[in-house]
């Protein structure tokens, strides 16, 4: 159940949307697609789901080429497009039955699958209401139920949690994580915390190109940012002497006085990447006869990496 994208390129007229990208997603992987608006996330997804033809390159889903064996690919897919496609004059039950029939779910299983999806996505209370009258969160859940109704091997979700409230987001993330164990899931998002919470692999794309590929931890490691230590000392010491001696530490690039809270001073100490400065700093603090109140080393977050790579 793997997805193999090789040298994929897509032009819209003369506009280059996806520029020669290559990656692979295997079974049991939840792949997060990150990127600023217009980076080519949705386009890539649309090509994988056979909605758009690639300009160049190939995409294979479970060994089937999306252009030549498009029907076989579609049978394996569950897809939630960015613009959630719903028929507003149908009820969730009618809609799910319709989609299940199209997906080729055997007639005897349709009811079972539909009830399962209604339970999983929490649609019990709205099952006989017109979809057009539902709130955005419920619509999104109907869309998710639609994508999963045929129990697909490959799930492609374009911004699955948009419009959901925080509780629902956690529920849906857990659901995706559960599904991800025996399926291949690709999801796109621009919520960075979502990636760290659900995905076990991240691809960051910018202007149609892959700029980073790896687990969230790997990416954090690769970041070329600097380490930052926030230091708080009691205000009965000499501020300038302390900051002077902190500056003398090897690997420290900058010492910044942040604020005087009334009974304490707060400093930000910027050091080289990967250097753990905490031990040396506490030594310097005692040397200056200052009282250490708190010290915190800040790791560079995925957000920093994202901004660094897509600037």
């Amino acid at each position: 159940m793997s997805i193999k994208v090789t040298n994929l390129t897509k032009y819209y007229g003369s506009y280059l949307a996806v520029d020669d990208i290559t990656f692979e997603a295997k079974k049991g992987e939840i792949l997060g697609f990150l990127g600023p608006n217009g980076a080519g996330k949705s386009t890539t997804m649309k090509i994988i789901t056979t909605y758009l033809p690639p300009t160049a390159g190939t995409v294979e889903v479970d060994g089937f080429d999306v252009e030549e064996k498009s029907l076989d690919v579609r049978k394996k897919l569950g897809y939630l497009p960015e613009l959630n496609p719903l028929y507003y004059d149908m009820t969730p039950v009618e809609y799910l039955d319709f989609v299940a029939k199209l997906d080729g779910v055997p007639a005897s299983d349709i009811k079972k699958r539909r009830e399962e999806m209604i339970k999983v996505c929490g649609l019990e209370s709205v099952r006989t209401k017109d979809i057009g009258t539902l709130s955005k969160g419920f619509k999104q859940r109907v869309g998710l139920a639609q994508a999963m109704i045929n129990n697909p091997d490959v799930l492609i979700l374009d911004e699955p949690t948009s419009g959901l409230d925080p509780n629902q987001i956690i529920e849906i993330r857990n659901l995706i994580k559960k599904l991800g164990r025996e399926k291949t899931v690709i999801l796109s998002t621009h919520i960075l915390s979502e990636v760290t919470a659900t995905c076990n692999r991240v691809i960051i794309i910018n202007k149609g190109k892959i700029v980073a590929d790896g687990t969230p931890e790997e990416l954090q490691h690769k970041s070329k940012g600097q380490s930052v230590v926030t230091l708080e000392v009691k205000n009965n010491c000499d501020k300038s002497a302390l900051s002077g001696s902190l500056k003398e530490i090897r690997n420290v690039n900058k010492v910044e006085f942040v604020k005087d809270t009334g009974d304490s001073f707060v400093f930000n100490i910027y050091g080289d990447k990967g250097a753990d400065l905490r031990e040396v700093i506490s030594g310097k603090v005692t040397q200056n006869k200052a009282v250490l109140l708190s010290m915190q080393a800040k790791q560079s977050s995925l957000e920093d990496i994202f901004r660094e790579l897509t600037k």
């Binding site: 789901t49 029907l71 579609r74 897809y79 496609p85 719903l86 507003y88 989609v99 199209l102 997906d103």
Partner: protein, 195 residues
């Protein structure tokens, strides 16, 4: 080709026509206008014939330029606008199955709309001699002509995202050309070319 898929799309389409007021409005308006136009000239001529119904320019105009686009508009432009075309095109359904399903459901709606004309025939039969076969072939002609116009309109709607823009432009185009349709009597293939 999977007939199950065609059936699924067909029944979904037909249901959505009758779920919204559009089918009812269009049918009632068509029956009212065509009935009015037909009976007006029918009593003037005073012959037991339905020629005034099937030959009426205005009834044809209402049917082909107002009624057919109204139902065609829903079938592809709406799907495109709502994004549901993306859903249908990423399901294991071939394009042919999708188009046939939609086509057959529109044709069914047209047959349902035109079927009350049988009542005209029965009533006229009671008061005067009216041959059956010319009536049936005329009705069949209307149905086939509608099917043809449905196809023509669909080509227009499928290429535009905004249904209202193309309905204005195509209406204007057809209204200008419609009086010249008699040309098609001399050169039949010309008809399919201009419309």
């Amino acid at each position: 080709m999977n007939t199950q898929n065609i059936k699924t799309i067909f029944s979904k389409e037909l249901k959505s026509y009758f779920n919204s007021p559009i089918a009812y409005i269009v049918m009632i308006v068509f029956m009212a206008i065509s009935g009015f136009l037909f009976t007006m000239s029918f009593f003037q001529i005073n012959i037991a014939s339905m020629r005034e119904f099937f030959g009426s320019f205005f009834i044809q105009l209402v049917l082909f330029v107002v009624f057919i686009p109204a139902i065609t508009m829903r079938s592809f432009s709406e799907e495109k606008k709502q994004g549901t075309l993306e859903l249908l095109l990423t399901k294991p359904v071939t394009d042919l199955e999708l188009i046939l399903g939609k086509y057959l459901s529109a044709l069914t709606l047209i047959v349902i709309t035109l079927s009350p004309t049988i009542l005209y025939f029965i009533i006229i039969k009671m008061i005067g001699p009216i041959p059956f076969w010319p009536f049936l072939t005329s009705l069949l002609g209307y149905i086939l002509m509608s099917a043809f116009f449905y196809r023509r309109w669909r080509v227009y709607f499928i290429t535009y995202r905004k249904p209202d823009y193309c309905i204005y432009s195509k209406c204007a185009y057809l209204s200008v050309l419609f009086p010249f349709r008699k040309i098609t009597y001399c050169i039949p293939s010309f008809g399919s070319f201009i419309f």
